[in-house]
Symmetry: C2
Subunit: 256 residues, 2 copies
């Protein structure tokens, strides 16, 4: 599945599509986005959008077609189980304009799985071996039923432990650019005090992203100043200037 | 800000737009979506989409214009502080095609705030009193700098404690429809075993949404079966049928 190296200067982009009524009702707190975000960054892929949508066929098809055209990779989570509300694979097939049919390799895998475990490969579970034509498997050592890849779309489970094992499996085969690095300086000054100097540093390092995040802990408050970029030298220089700026304003900077 | 009652049959829809590089880099785990989702449901507003996007002006303007046209309400979080990466209010103004200027009421509020507290109302902090023309304030008892409402868009802070106080302030003035209610049955059967009966119940209650969520705890595993809908009688009847179905399959259902 390796796609070879691409130019380290090109930014490789991705989107995450989180499919599930339970996230939009507030019943379940999503735990997948941050995991995927960190993992993509490690392999030089830049996550540019995440979208949470309900288990509604037209919405899934439309969002998927928009995102897969706009970004290099799309990772979906949720909706690939055996129950009637698991409609992701049918929708992915519709989005790609291909039929959804029994995937022989997935079928074999599930036959093996249920041979050694309780439960039968009944009609409901057989749905988990149905996939868009042209897909390849993403193995699932946790609970058997696989994920699938078709084109630039990776269809994964919603349960965090299962999603993580699927994502870890595909992550290193992605064709990424140069990973971005980040450094973070914590200080005891409020945002409003450092804002001017911080913007001046941003202007000197347009190739970096400088972000400020206020914190409050045990009655203390302050700001974390984060530098992120693909050029480690720029990131280091900007960080030095931030440390100097904070000190000169009477603050107490320390790297975190 | 009350908008009177609307027909209880109409579904009032909303989207959340989460603005912030820190969420897409995985540095920060979003904690606002689930809070807003639950609160909206209480007042009969149905959350239909959430989108996470970077602090990038064109992306913010485009997403906001898409979502505010598509849904009854849009709630944004993040990007309203005093630093250069806080660009949400300028982008909201651009999306609405209005200027962004000093908001007299917000200005008075910040003058009062810094009279009694450390820090000065310098140029950076004054940005937090700048808002799209035609906005009304959303008060912020936690840290002073207000949120704003313009049209059907509510612009709120990203820090969860501040966002929560802003959201609680506006929530009850929303014109919602009939709130949906939900019941949940936990059982010790796997999804693949209940899938067929569960779908049959879904078909008998098309006005309800039936969702199944596998769980695993201390070596035990099973499924939570959730019924959600606006008609409490249908929700109760569907729940009774689920309990009966689980028992007849040899499972041990209990409401959670």
């Amino acid at each position: 599945m390796s796609e070879g190296m691409i130019s380290p200067e090109r930014i490789v982009s991705a989107a995450v599509l989180i499919i599930g009524n339970e996230i939009l009702s507030g019943r379940t707190q999503d735990a997948n986005l941050a995991y995927i975000a960190k993992g993509l960054n490690e392999v030089g892929v830049s996550l540019r959008e995440a979208r949470v949508i309900p288990d509604a066929a037209d919405t899934i098809v439309e969002a998927l077609n928009e995102l897969r055209t706009k970004f290099d990779y799309v990772f979906t989570t949720g909706g690939i189980g055996p129950t009637h509300d698991d409609i992701t694979l049918e929708c992915v097939a519709r989005a790609f304009g291909v039929p959804c049919s029994l995937h022989p390799e997935a079928h074999d895998l599930l036959k093996e799985w249920y041979k050694e475990r309780p439960g039968q490969l009944n009609a409901a579970r057989l749905r988990m071996a149905t996939a868009p034509e042209g897909s390849t498997l993403i193995v699932n050592p946790i609970s058997g039923a696989p994920g699938f890849r078709i084109g630039n779309v990776f269809v994964m489970a919603g349960i965090p432990r299962v999603m993580q094992s699927m994502f870890d499996h595909v992550k290193n085969a992605l064709a990424g650019g140069r990973p971005s690095v980040s450094r973070s300086v914590r200080c005891d000054l409020p945002e409003g005090t450092i804002a001017k100097g911080f913007e001046e540093i941003q202007n000197r390092f347009p190739e970096c992203e400088l972000g400020s995040y206020p914190w409050q802990k045990d009655g203390q408050f302050g700001t974390s100043l984060v530098v992120r970029g693909r050029n480690p030298e720029s990131v280091n220089s900007a960080t030095q200037q931030i440390i100097h700026m904070v000190s000169s304003l009477g603050g107490n900077p320390r790297e975190e």
